[in-house]
């Protein structure tokens, strides 16, 4: 119990540190550049507190529940060497963690709002919700596929630069045929997918897997999963835009 409280306070401190640079930069700009009083910022302090507490609870809960189970499973599966279950696990891990990714929820909601405001989709709350959910499902699917490719790369020792470069060539190709308004959102969703939830679990999976295989270096083979998780969402969201355009 006492241990948990210490960890929780650490997590609160951690999210405070996460928010601090932003608050610092914005405060400096407000006071020295715009010469505004700090009252406007203070009115947002309540929401800031929720951000800090929410993020801390979230990470604390992840560490209590998701990380030990996920890491235990990743290690057990890597040791077992059953390729089918390993790949199924990689997919579920990627899909599940991405659906719950706060940054993605934020971007998807914003994208739906902009699309509705500019008449790209119907202005009803229903249409916005569907559009946002469609985006999130697409990105989650993409991260699931990314982890499958990443795990297979570690198992089969494929060249990482070659795959990544090939992927980005495909991105450029798809960009030329995708509707213009999806391009920005697609490129952004690549960077969004890999933050709080996905990174620790995915890194554990990659490094653990490479460590349990003979002749693999956990430095050159273990990292690189996240790179796939940033690439495939761009491809999938571009494809999503192309398909939406047709229907």
């Amino acid at each position: 119990m006492k241990d948990s409280l210490t960890t929780l306070s650490h997590d609160v401190a951690g999210s405070l540190r996460d928010l601090l640079p932003i608050v610092l930069v914005i405060t400096v700009f407000q006071i020295f550049v715009f010469e505004e009083s700090a009252t406007r910022l203070l009115s947002m302090a309540g929401g800031g507190l929720l951000v800090v507490l929410g993020l801390a609870f979230f990470i604390f809960g992840l560490r209590l529940a998701l990380f030990p189970v996920g890491e235990g499973l990743a290690n057990a599966l890597a040791r077992k060497g059953n390729v089918f279950w390993l790949i199924a696990f990689a997919f579920v891990l990627g899909f599940g963690t991405t659906i719950a990714e706060p940054a993605l929820i934020a971007i998807a909601a914003e994208a739906a709002e902009v699309a509705a405001a500019e008449d790209a989709i119907a202005a009803s709350a229903e249409a916005r919700k569907n559009y946002a959910l469609g985006l999130r499902l697409t990105v989650a699917l993409a991260v699931g596929v990314a982890l499958i490719i990443g795990v297979m790369r570690i198992l089969a020792n494929w060249s990482l630069p070659l795959l990544i470069i090939g992927g980005y060539c495909l991105v450029v190709l798809l960009t030329t045929i995708a509707p213009k308004e999806i391009v920005g959102v697609a490129y952004d969703s690549g960077g969004v997918t890999t933050s709080t939830v996905t990174v620790p679990l995915v890194t554990a999976l990659g490094v653990g897997l490479a460590g349990s295989l003979k002749g693999r270096n956990s430095m050159t083979d273990g990292f690189g999963l996240i790179a796939f998780a940033s690439l495939t969402p761009i491809l999938f969201v571009l494809a999503y835009g192309i398909i939406l355009q047709w229907t």
Binding site: E36, G47, G54, G61, A103, V183, G184, V192, T220
Partner: protein, 272 residues
């Protein structure tokens, strides 16, 4: 009180988001490992924290992070503010006149990447795995410089209205060139650094900044120009980390060379 009541629907929504992964993990544990979960009670408590935390975060996002990003964009592009600093009216502005935007973007990108916990974790892991060859601070500063330049350049793109994919394609072309000559050890780490920089807190702020800019700068549309900042923040750290690796190799060569020179000088002196 209002805050608490207002959080309830958000928490209910986040429960729907989190439940699938919980169910899958339990199923995997059962079917593949064949053992029930150890510490089931602790894990259940953990999931409650995850759900409540995600809900609270999303409320805070709506109340603070989005409005802050938009407010900054609005103030930085305020015609009165720009008139005061540059002395031009809105219609005469060129991209150079928005220098406060670039400065702010750079500061936000740099500082958030430097404080990013996911990056600290990756840097520490890289430090151990590389046997100390990759410094924790060196990597963090390299990523932060990349993120700062990335966000600033992304703002320039929004203000100038140039197509996003030109920049991204050019950026990845540089990455490909660097990959060919950078030390092999740093490559996967550099590729991963791209995704790590954009944290849960910085993404909403950066996204709101981009959308706010695209709404405020004359001739830009939120739909076409508003997104893409996060992509910049994810691309440029790859370049800067690869450069960090190349620099480390270069430094080693230089120090080897100077040592070699010193050595031969000493030998010459000894001979005399």
């Amino acid at each position: 009180m209002d805050l608490i009541l207002g959080s309830v629907p958000f928490i209910a929504n986040s429960a729907i988001d989190v439940l699938p992964i919980a169910i899958f993990l339990f199923a995997f544990q059962r079917i593949v490992i064949g053992k029930p979960l150890p510490n089931a009670g602790r894990i259940a408590v953990g999931f409650v924290f995850v759900i409540v935390g995600l809900g609270l975060f999303l409320v805070g996002l709506e109340l603070t992070l989005f409005p802050l990003g938009k407010l900054m964009a609005q103030q930085l592009t305020d015609p009165a503010f720009l008139y005061e600093t540059v002395g031009k009216s809105v219609t005469d502005l060129v991209w150079q006149d928005y220098y406060w935007v670039y400065l702010f973007a750079c500061a936000i990108g740099f500082s958030t990447a430097l404080a990013e916990p996911a990056l600290i974790a990756v840097a520490m892991k890289a430090n151990t795995v590389s046997g100390g060859a990759i410094g924790v601070w060196g990597l963090r500063v390299a990523v932060a410089i990349g993120a700062g330049i990335g966000v600033a350049l992304g703002c320039f793109r929004i203000i100038s209205g140039l197509p996003l994919h030109y920049f991204i394609a050019a950026g990845y072309f540089v990455v490909i060139l660097q990959t060919a000559i950078a030390p092999r050890l740093i490559v996967p780490l550099a590729y991963d650094s791209g995704g790590v920089t954009t944290s849960t807190v910085s993404v909403p702020i950066i996204a709101a900044l981009g959308l706010g800019l695209s709404e405020a700068v004359p001739g830009r549309s939120a739909l076409l120009d508003g997104f893409g900042l996060v992509a910049f923040a994810a691309l440029f750290p790859i370049i800067s980390v690869l450069a960090y690796g190349q620099l480390a190799v270069l430094r080693e060569r230089v120090s080897n060379y100077t040592e070699h020179v010193r050595h031969t000088e000493k030998e010459e002196n000894d001979a005399i």
